[in-house]
């Protein structure tokens, strides 16, 4: 679906993206993780055909991004981090307008509004919407023309837990429908939950690329933490691969004296810091 080979780009004489290669398969949710200025935005501008002066190759849906025609956008949906809607128009009018820019038939607006719980707010002006409502409306705007590839930028940013859950379910639903999703996020929990694979991008290069699970399991030594009571509460810890050698743990298990027990892998954030030496800010 997306093939990037030896991609390089520079705004000045200094390389900004260098020698980047990766593939995104159809139906995959692929995450770009990296600190600000790492090159994620530039990479996505290349993939959405806004930057055409790159070297190497970036092929999306069989089309080289630098030589695309305007019909290229019939199959791309972009959900920006911020609202990209006419504030004085209603939600319905906005969706109607943006839908009219596409040659293909657009999805039913009422159904889309209902899918994000805005069915009773379609006639409200966007300026009267809360941030969460705008985010949801922005998201369904990207889905209007039923694109094969979705670019999502921080789709859960600023949403309360309920709306964040709705948004994540919608993304997973689109994946189930066969959409390819490119997700940019700083939220490691979202990335771990939504992405089939993630790429850590720092200084214009990919430092690591794998499934979140593999990244976590390859790099981290998972441990087991347990608590028990012998007058006062105590905590014990051992490596997951050496539980049988922990005599205390064995004895507590035998006597059913464990009060709590958890395996604790490093988080994706820990792995990111370990691999890149940077934090996600």
């Amino acid at each position: 679906m997306i093939t990037v080979e030896e991609l390089s780009f520079s705004y000045t004489n200094k390389p900004f993206i260098s020698n980047m290669s990766f593939q995104v398969r159809k139906g995959e949710v692929f995450g770009f993780l990296g600190p600000s200025g790492a090159g994620k935005t530039t990479l996505q501008k290349i993939l959405t055909g806004l930057i055409t002066t790159y070297r190497g190759s970036a092929v999306l849906n069989g089309v080289e991004c630098k030589t695309h025609s305007k019909s290229f956008y019939e199959n791309i949906g972009v959900d920006f981090e911020y609202s990209t809607l006419y504030e004085k128009l209603t939600a319905y009018e906005n969706l109607q307008f943006f839908g009219s820019l596409y040659a293909k038939n657009v999805r039913n607006i009422d159904d889309l509004l209902e899918s994000v719980g805005l069915q009773n707010d379609g006639d409200k002006k966007v300026s009267e919407y809360s941030k969460g409502m705008k985010s949801r409306l922005n998201f369904i705007k990207a889905l209007l023309h039923d694109p094969a590839i979705l670019f999502l930028d921080e789709p859960t940013s600023g949403l309360d837990p309920t709306n964040s859950r709705i948004m994540k379910d919608l993304i997973l639903h689109e994946k189930k429908c066969g959409k390819t999703v490119l997700l940019t996020t700083h939220n490691m929990l979202d990335a771990a939950e939504l992405c089939d694979r993630v790429a850590f991008i720092v200084d214009g290069t990919i430092k690591a690329l794998d499934t979140p699970h593999n990244l976590i399991m390859q790099k981290g030594a998972a441990s087991v933490k347990y608590t028990y009571y012998d007058g006062t509460e105590h905590t014990g810890q051992c490596s997951l691969t050496k539980t049988a050698e922990d005599q205390l743990l064995m004895s507590l298990l035998k006597n059913n004296a464990i009060r709590s027990i958890h395996s604790s892998e490093p988080t994706l954030n820990d792995i990111f810091i370990e691999v890149t030496g940077r934090t996600l800010k």
């Binding site: 994620k40 935005t41 996505q44 501008k45 959405t48 055909g49 806004l50 930057i51 305007k70 019909s71 290229f72 956008y73 019939e74 791309i76 972009v78 920006f80 981090e81 911020y82 609202s83 990209t84 809607l85 006419y86 504030e87 004085k88 128009l89 009018e93 307008f97 943006f98 009219s100 820019l101 596409y102 040659a103 705007k141 670019f151 930028d153 940019t184």
Partner: protein, 226 residues
């Protein structure tokens, strides 16, 4: 079909943002002022009004439109849609020219002008010229203050010579390209086709420049922070 929908979308946008209401108010005010003038003065007064306002409204409104689209980040969404830059520009030009033409028609009728078809044709092209000038400037600025400052020299160049020319058609002013518009609106031209051609040529040159600046604007704004 997409272009028609885009055009209707632009007209709806202008309606919702009060452009049409504003011009109904202006139109009533202009008619009221025109009716105060003696009949002999009305035609020249109407020429002055038509040239400096409805025909030139694009110069004032494009700044507002582009700044609104920038502040609401709609341009980002348009840049990643199948919409072409040519469609985007033409839609703005035609939608604003529609307001220019309607208001000019009313003023020309009230003033008793006898060359209304030529006036309207001239207003359509002149409106396009000012809209493109507004677009070229607005594409490069980020605040209303910047826009107002940037348009001052342009207003002096585009308005002062034609308005002087309307009352004192001195030879030295004759070659100012926008005096073609003033001559056509005033009905004082001896070379209608030639003046029309000059306006069309200016329009085409500005269209090419506006296309380049809009392309640059879409590339630098569109998707800047994906």
């Amino acid at each position: 079909m997409r272009f028609i929908k885009l055009l209707l979308g632009d007209i709806r946008f202008q309606f919702k943002y009060g452009f049409y209401f504003m011009y109904v108010v202006f139109c009533v005010a202009y008619i009221w002022i025109l009716l105060f003038f003696p009949a002999a003065w009305r035609q020249k007064a109407a020429c002055m009004m038509i040239y400096s306002d409805p025909a030139a409204l694009g110069l004032f409104f494009m700044g507002a439109i582009i700044l609104l689209e920038k502040s609401e980040r709609v341009l980002n969404a348009l840049a990643v849609s199948p919409l072409t830059i040519m469609e985007y520009i033409l839609s703005k030009v035609i939608s604003l020219a529609a307001i220019s033409t309607l208001v000019s028609l009313v003023l020309a009728i009230v003033a008793g002008s006898d060359n209304i078809p030529v006036i309207l044709l001239s207003v359509v092209i002149t409106s396009g010229i000012f809209t493109l000038l507004g677009l070229i400037i607005a594409a490069k600025i980020n605040s209303l203050n910047q826009y107002l400052i940037a348009t001052v020299p342009l207003e002096i160049i585009c308005f002062v010579p034609p308005l002087i020319y309307l009352f004192y058609p001195a030879d030295i002013l004759r070659w100012h390209p926008l005096n073609s518009s003033m001559r056509l609106i005033n009905g004082s031209t001896n070379h209608t086709a030639c003046d029309m051609m000059i306006l069309i040529l200016i329009f085409l040159i500005l269209f090419l420049i506006a296309h380049r600046t809009t392309q640059k604007m879409w590339k630098t704004i569109g998707g800047v922070k994906l």
